[in-house]
Amino acid sequence: MSDPLTYVYAITPAPGPDLPGVSGVDGATVRLVSSGALAAVVSTVAEESFDETALRTRLEQMDTLESLARAHHTVIDAAGAREVVLPLRLATVYRGDQRVLDLLDRGHDRFRDALERLTDRREWGVKVYTDPSTALAAERPAGPSDPGPGAERSAAPSSSRPVGERPVRTSTAGAAGGSSPGKDYLRRRRQEQRSAEEVRRATAEFAGRVDAELCTLAADVRHYRAQNPQLSGAQGENVLNAAYLIPEDRTEAFTAAVRALNGSVPGTRVELTGPWAPYSFTLPDPEPA
């Protein structure tokens, strides 16, 4: 009943990369099994740790999910640094090596095509954030009509009243002459609200521009949901979270483009992660527009 199970991390062209010193889930040894032109990166794992019940518990507990996810990723990352890989989803487990060999045979053409498509291409992650510190700095001295150097023209004051803003009775025309504390306060409040709205608008516009520019260098793109800033520890709001599949000969151009975009608009920040194994691009169909 307690036959060992085979945990599969990724599929690569045979014979597959040697991974000395890399350990897998539960510290298991990482090895290769191959059939025909394909190899699978695998570990032998104990059934009592990876049967349905155990797996469910592990995936539902944050700490065990994290260690499983990180171990899975570490192996794929190491393999992907040496060879083109097709990452498998977390916790793909078979009853022994023979079942994995059957899988390689059964899916041979499909896997080979996918590997071919991903050869010499790497995945890069890009996130755009609003940067509250610089956003505030840009707001304070400048006032609503001058969002700062480099900011887009789109943040024109004429169209910037936020939908939810309460109309202020003070006439705008007379605002220049107004000097009572009440009027000053209201004017300041309006300027602050307007600035915040302009920052949001400018950031959204900037995120779109980043995505469009990086797409010109990418073979493919996937968009992820924005990450929650409160728990990621990241400063500011995540407004773009995307993965780009970049041909290796465009790596320099791509990273340079990201660097140039970072800091080009006050109040925004562009973060780059990678290269990743091509997790986000294992399916051949591109994201619907």
Binding site: E66, R70, R82, R89, T92, Y94, W124, D131, G263, T282
Partner: protein, 111 residues
């Protein structure tokens, strides 16, 4: 004015250089990829993907760094029945115990 948000570190082999955000690979980045992406092949061990997808959705909304969350004293998922099987088991056990007590009480009243 913007602090450097791109960290460069050398790796070997195929990768000329690597970029990471502040800190090491963000758990949310890793989970997004290992749970949501990658080739889906039905293994011999069947797990209920629906449950995991539910978990993922919650994670995406809430958890980017577990350590950070724990530091902040946020560990509600450990008690949330939709996220934790042990919490689910606990709430069922509690319910069962209450029902048994109630039945005992009612039966005791009749005799």
């Amino acid at each position: 004015m913007t602090e450097p948000s791109i960290v460069r570190r050398e790796t070997g082999a195929r990768a000329p250089s690597r970029y990471e955000g502040p800190g090491s690979a963000n758990l949310a980045d890793v989970l997004e990829r290992v749970l949501d992406k990658g080739v889906v092949i039905a293994g011999d061990i069947q797990i209920n993907l629906l449950d995991i997808e539910l978990l993922t959705i919650r994670l995406r909304l809430l958890v980017a760094s577990v350590d950070k969350a724990k530091e902040m004293g946020i560990d509600w998922w450990e008690h949330d029945p939709t996220l934790s099987s042990s919490a689910r088991r606990r709430s069922l056990e509690d319910e069962n115990r209450e029902l048994r007590d109630r039945i005992a009480e009612l039966e005791g009243g009749h005799e």
